[in-house]
């Protein structure tokens, strides 16, 4: 099993969800986050006052998928999240040792 963690642009969330749904991936956790990588923040001046927009709004998607599908999921996710500009985000992949469905004690991929 693999855990996929993707930091994407907020406005790409619906597109990414739809694309993943299209390949049968429904389960995911979404978090509203702030951050920046190479896309540094910038300054906005509003009525003479400077506002530092150094941490930009992003969305974090987390999901655990069967190992056999992770290439396909990565490709789909990246394609849907891509706008071609700086700030499109990153995807990280981790190995997962175990998964348990708390309701009935299912283990491993059966619990996904």
């Amino acid at each position: 099993m693999k855990k996929i963690e993707a930091i994407i642009q907020p406005f790409k969330l619906d597109e990414v969800k739809e694309a993943l749904k299209g390949i049968g991936i429904d389960g995911m956790t979404i978090t509203e986050v702030r951050g920046h990588g190479r896309q540094k923040g910038h300054k906005e001046i509003y009525r003479g006052q400077e506002y530092n927009v150094d941490l930009l709004p992003k969305v974090k998607i987390e999901m655990v998928i069967p190992s056999g599908r992770y290439e396909e999921v990565l490709k789909t996710l990246a394609a849907a999240a891509r706008s071609g500009k700086i700030g499109d985000g990153k995807i990280f992949v981790y190995d997962v040792a175990e998964a348990v469905r708390i309701r009935n004690d299912d283990r491993g991929e059966a619990a996904l």
């Binding site: 906005e44 001046i45 509003y46 009525r47 003479g48 709004p57 700030g87």
Partner: protein, 827 residues
């Protein structure tokens, strides 16, 4: 369809309920069955070991004989002494185990009579549960001792018990957002649920309990009926889930509609809300009464509030009463006065006043149409500090739908949506409330809104199209249609109507942009700026969006989302103000519009001018320009709703804007907004919105003409404004410790041809004149001005040039120093 239970003593009422559909029979039957099981187990295990000094009592819902099919069984094991209870620990364990084996979910407590008659500040539930205690089996003498003690204890601690009970209830209400209109309510815990019905009973018991005994209280028939309805629902939910589940989920709502053939879900959910509302109102009324009675500070405050009364309305116990309700027959305006009172003072209507209004509602509905100037009356109410409370009262009494039948179908309407928590009407009321309680940087925006009633009207109708027949454009198109009909009926002026319909039409726009567009993309920002056209509209729409999102559910407006909305606002604001200077009307625009006569006048004005002025206003400005050709300048002054407006047209010359501002300051006028633009031919059009704090123009009509003539003379260079100001006392410059620290910033990158100066400082009379004079005195020419005032803060944006170019560095420094001096910000 539901089927019979798998069996067992714990579920005996499951089958009874399904067979009879009567919850009260089912509750009583389960109570009897459980009584038998508990008594048998006690006779076999507990009482042989402890023949005297122990008794078993039913408490809580079980004590009231209201055992729902899968409710827990609340037992009190009463022991003579703590020592005896400790000695019999194993016997008690065996007794309880027998009950669990019989399929009962037991919640037990072991106490002595002394402990039962103690106040438990941190376990108020224990004291409350004893109000419903009932002897089951065991030592009768021991129980008699408790039965004698309890009423005396209640009598002596009535105030504390009420306080604890009220605290628990208020905490529970707050947990559910203090509203009963949840899309998936919990029939036990949500405000207006069974717990609130019980609260009414307990408060009545505590209030009326005679010294010697505690008796179950009778409730009003309306409440008793509501209890039967909710009890039936709860029984159904237990049977459906096969456990103690009280959530009226969407699935459960559908199952009930199918099982009871109750027609469409929306209709019977309205029935649920009607009953829950009866219970909630009773509970809140009794809570208010109980809390007021137990707080001397509140009593003093209440007495003070009673002085707010007037010739039509009296205040008694924090509630507004009509002095002569019979006058409602002849004077429908009295209803509006009642709500104005609520909106002004934050005093809720009394139950009597609500009933008096509700009783006359059918007649009032016909009369509302006859009230002249209805929009003006509503605007007066909706501009007051407690307007949201007044709107809620209007809604609860049915007056709101009496005034606006267009809103009737959204009442108690459930629209299933994963994110929405409330019914459509409650969402609307919460949105209005949120607008008044708005925080963060949005609070400043809200304080700049001079006519909040327009926002309130827009919010009231923004979702009115939900539940109406869906057509092209979804609910938004439906909402616009309904709002338009209502606005026309109450004779809302066309300009106001245009604003509210715009807000309703676009109320999802900013949310959609935040969700599906890159808000940092300049194209997104420009596109929004093009749609919204003016800063005023942007402000209003931002506020509507904030209120709407935050009323979806309590967590919907997360700090993350609020920040996103603020960024969108800031960027579009900047795009709109920058556009003032860069985006000019080309000559072809009037030609394309078929108005060649306008070319000379309009060419070179900011495009904003076309968007913010109607054809008749443009015609008026052109007429002024014609006059100015003969006289050198032409000035028009007219009265607006809450302020005055001076419009002037003249050939541009240095110091012109400062002269006009100085003339108004010389007359003691307070400028709140101003705009100044020049066209390609060097003709300037300046507009000043000003207040007349001393009411000089109202009280001395001849002064109006004197001001107009003088302004014309000053602008044409025939009078010296300095002379005029010499005769007026010079206002003190703000101190360095002013509440609003002054900021002066220069930006040469914002415009291709001019330097932008943005000044934020504490407002004072004559400020604009001083700033404009400082700019002129330093050889700079004012190209565009946008002046705004929010409360005591002045926000002034000037686009200036010197000799046709942006300011060079030495001049920028000189001007910076001069402007800081004017603002009192130092060098």
């Amino acid at each position: 369809m539901l089927t019979s239970s798998p069996g067992g003593n714990g579920t005996v009422s499951h089958d009874t309920f399904l067979a009879t559909g009567d919850a009260l029979i089912a509750l009583a039957e389960r109570t009897l069955a459980v009584d038998a099981v508990v008594s048998r187990a006690a006779a076999e295990i507990l009482l042989p070991a402890v023949p005297s000094g122990a008794a078993v009592l039913a408490v809580g819902g079980y004590g009231r004989r209201q055992l729902f099919p899968y409710s827990d069984i609340d037992l009190l094991l009463l022991f003579q002494s703590e020592r005896l209870a400790v000695e019999q620990k194993e016997t008690v364990a065996a007794f309880l185990q027998r009950l669990w084996d019989a399929g009962l979910r037991i919640s037990q407590s072991v106490r002595t009579p002394g402990e039962c008659a103690e106040l438990h500040e941190h376990n108020a539930e224990l004291n409350v549960s004893l109000l419903d205690q009932r002897f089951l089996t065991g030592d009768r003498a021991l129980y008699a001792a408790l039965a004698e003690k309890l009423p005396r204890f209640v009598q002596a601690n009535r105030e504390s018990l009420v306080r604890n009970l009220a605290r628990l209830a208020r905490e529970r209400h707050a947990k559910y957002g203090n509203t009963l209109y949840h899309l998936e309510p919990n029939v036990k815990e949500t405000p207006g649920g069974l717990r609130d019905y019980q609260l009414v009973c307990w408060l009545s018991q505590l209030r009326e309990a005679p010294a010697g005994r505690i008796e179950a209280a009778d409730t009003a028939p309306e409440l008793a009926q509501a209890f039967r309805h909710l009890a039936r629902l709860r029984c159904f939910l237990h049977c459906l889930a096969g456990r103690d589940s009280n959530l009226l989920s969407f699935e459960a709502q559908d199952a009930i509609a199918e099982q009871w053939d109750a027609g469409d879900t929306a209709r019977w959910m309205r029935e649920y809300y009607r009953h829950a509302r009866a219970i909630y109102r009773g509970a809140v009324r009794d809570l208010d009464r109980a809390e007021a009675a137990s707080s001397s500070l509140l009593v003093q405050f209440r007495d003070w509030r009673s002085r707010l009364g007037n010739a039509d309305i009296s205040v008694h116990r924090e509630r507004a009463h009509l002095r002569a309700p019979q006058r409602l027959e002849m004077e429908p305006e009295l209803v509006l006065l009642l709500f104005e009172f609520t909106a002004r003072h934050g005093v809720r209507l009394s139950l009597e006043a609500e009933q008096q209004v509700a009783a006359r509602l059918p007649r009032l509905r016909g009369q509302f149409g006859e009230i002249g100037g209805l929009w003006r009356a509503l605007e007066a109410i909706w501009s007051l500090p407690y307007a949201p409370l007044a709107v809620r009262s209007m809604h609860e009494t049915g007056v709101l739908t009496g005034l606006f039948p267009e809103l009737a179908h959204m009442e108690c309407l459930v629209v299933r949506d994963f994110y929405h928590r409330y019914t459509v009407d409650e969402h609307t009321l919460v949105a209005i409330q949120n607008l008044w309680e708005i925080g963060g940087p949005f609070r400043d925006l809200r304080s700049e809104v001079t006519r909040p009633a327009l926002l309130l009207f827009a919010l009231l109708f923004h979702d009115s199209g939900k539940g109406a027949s869906s057509g092209p454009g979804g609910h938004v198109a439906g909402s616009v249609k309904l709002a338009q009909a209502a606005a026309e009926r109450i004779r809302m002026p066309a300009q106001d109507r245009e604003i509210v319909l715009f807000l309703i039409r676009k109320h999802l726009e900013l949310s959609a942009v935040m969700q599906s567009r890159d808000v940092f993309d300049p194209q997104t920002v420009d596109e929004l700026a093009r749609q919204l056209e003016t800063v005023e509209r942007l402000k209003l729409l931002t506020l509507v969006t904030y209120a709407d999102i935050s009323a979806v559910n309590p967590a919907a407006m997360s700090p993350w989302r609020a920040e996103q909305l603020w960024q969108v606002y800031m960027m579009v604001y900047n795009a709109l103000t920058r556009e003032l200077e860069t985006d000019r009307i080309p000559a072809r625009a009037p030609l394309e519009a078929g108005r060649p006569e306008q070319v000379g006048f309009l060419e070179g004005f900011p495009t904003r001018y076309l968007r913010t002025h109607t054809e008749s206003e443009i015609a008026g400005h052109m007429a002024l320009e014609a006059q100015s050709r003969a006289r050198g300048a032409a000035v028009e002054i007219r009265r607006l709703e809450a302020a005055w407006q001076m419009t002037l047209v003249a050939r541009d010359r240095p110091g012109l804007f400062a002269g006009a501002a100085g003339t108004l300051a010389g007359f003691g006028m307070n400028i709140v907004k101003a705009e100044a633009f020049a066209n390609r031919r060097g003709v300037v059009l300046d507009t000043f919105m000003f207040e007349d704090p001393m009411r000089t123009l109202d009280l001395n009509p001849t002064e109006l003409e004197r001001l107009r003539t003088l302004a014309e003379r000053v602008i044409a260079g025939r009078s010296d404004v300095r002379e005029l100001l010499r005769h007026r006392p010079r206002p003190a410059l703000p101190s360095r410790k002013a509440r609003i620290p002054a900021r002066v910033s220069f930006n040469s990158a914002a415009s291709g041809t001019a330097t932008l100066i943005e000044i934020v400082t504490e407002d004072r009379p004559g400020l604009l004149y001083d700033l404009a004079s400082a700019i002129s005195a330093n050889g700079a020419n004012i190209e565009v001005v946008l002046i705004d005032t929010e409360a005591h803060k002045a926000i002034d944006v000037f686009y200036v040039t010197a000799e046709g170019k942006k300011l060079d560095e030495p001049r920028r420094q000189r001007l910076d120093e001069a402007l800081r001096k004017v603002c009192g910000a130092g060098g």
